[in-house]
């Protein structure tokens, strides 16, 4: 957690306002826009093609993680994120996030399900950009939050089952904490269905205490990543660590306090 990555100075230096205005005005077009003659339509097929697929994957990863000076905003160059547990989201919103903080409609769910749900918490320069775009502004027009309200809201979303994630836009400037679901979230979609590193897993994984777990299965229904499963012969739930994103949402369902988050680095075989 580097405070500089949230600062207004960095935003000014990188000319973030211009990038984000361009990116957000055309946000829903990102998957239909042709990039070097190729759009994301049927990208699953395209990525599986011999040779061409590997070139596409290489190029997509290069775009997602681009740190070059002339990044293209409409294709969201340098825009990727990481899943974080609730505790880290609270620290960011309570201390690091640049004001003003706003809560606007989630554009991924709008694109994918046609629903408007205010659950994306944005801050810093991005707040001013989104305020000019009526389709993202909640109907009741209450969207400016102070730090305590933002923390309260992220906790509500997290308990509901949404996964907290923090986003570069573009790297290294951080200005959003989303509450995502799978597969509607554009970032989780690219990672889960197409193996692109648009979202990284959290620095933690869930660990279930076998003595405390009573096998009630409540946590299984909370997991967005199908990482939890009930093992009948053991009468308890086990975590598939390779699938676990470390979001910690399963803990809200556990009545026996049997799920703890442990550092991912304890398991050298796991990916981020």
């Amino acid at each position: 957690m580097n405070a500089k990555n949230y600062s207004n100075e960095l935003a000014k230096e990188m000319n973030i306002a211009e990038y984000e205005t361009e990116q957000w005005r055309a946000f829903e077009q990102v998957y239909i826009r042709k990039i070097m003659g190729i759009s994301s339509i049927d990208v699953g097929y395209k990525l599986q093609l011999p040779i061409i697929g590997r070139v596409l994957r290489w190029n997509a990863e290069k775009m997602i993680h681009s740190e070059s000076k002339n990044r293209n905003a409409v294709r969201a160059d340098g825009h990727f994120g990481q899943v974080i547990p609730l505790e880290d989201a609270k620290i960011i919103l309570g201390n690091l996030a640049a004001e003003p903080i706003i809560e606007n409609y989630c554009m991924c769910r709008w694109m994918q399900r046609g629903v408007k749900e205010a659950c994306c918490i944005n801050f810093g320069v991005l707040s001013g950009v989104i305020e000019k775009l009526p389709r993202f502004i909640p109907k009741n027009n209450v969207y400016r939050l102070d730090r305590d309200e933002a923390i309260k809201r992220i906790e509500q979303h997290n308990r509901k089952g949404y996964v907290a994630s923090v986003w570069f836009q573009p790297v290294p400037y951080i200005n959003a904490i989303c509450s995502c679901e799978n597969p509607e979230c554009g970032g989780l979609r690219l990672r889960q269905d197409f193996g692109l590193n648009s979202v990284y897993k959290a620095e933690y994984v869930a660990a279930i205490d076998p003595d405390k777990c009573q096998g009630c299965k409540s946590c299984v229904s909370m997991c967005q990543f199908s990482a939890l499963r009930y093992i009948p012969s053991q009468e308890r739930v086990m975590v598939d660590l390779r699938k676990c994103f470390g979001c910690g949402v399963c803990r809200h369902a556990c009545k026996n306090d049997s799920i703890q988050m442990v550092p991912r680095e304890q398991f050298p075989g796991l990916q981020y």
Binding site: D42, Y45, P50, Q112
Partner: protein, 86 residues
């Protein structure tokens, strides 16, 4: 080896979206919610007449085609019969 071809999901824009038809996908959105793998995407068109800050012309495009299971729920749920899956 060549990968398996994805299903084709075609939306008839004379029936849905693009401003001129009977249905605005922003008001309807039934297909978006019917699709379990959420392969359909609602987006503003690239029409140059659009207000860049508040676009009013929207359409539906099937994007994640390889995840389509041809369950036909979108075809059944569409009130104007605008979707065809092959």
């Amino acid at each position: 080896m060549m990968p398996k071809k994805s299903p084709k999901v075609i939306v008839d824009y004379s029936k849905c979206g693009d401003g001129g038809s009977k249905v605005d996908p922003r008001d309807c959105g039934k297909c978006l919610r019917a699709c379990d793998p959420a392969i359909l995407l609602m987006h503003e068109t690239m029409d140059i007449r659009q207000d860049p800050y508040d676009p009013q012309i929207w359409r539906i495009t099937a994007v994640w085609l390889n995840l389509c299971t041809r369950c036909m729920k979108c075809v059944q749920v569409c009130p104007v019969g605008a979707i065809a899956v092959t």
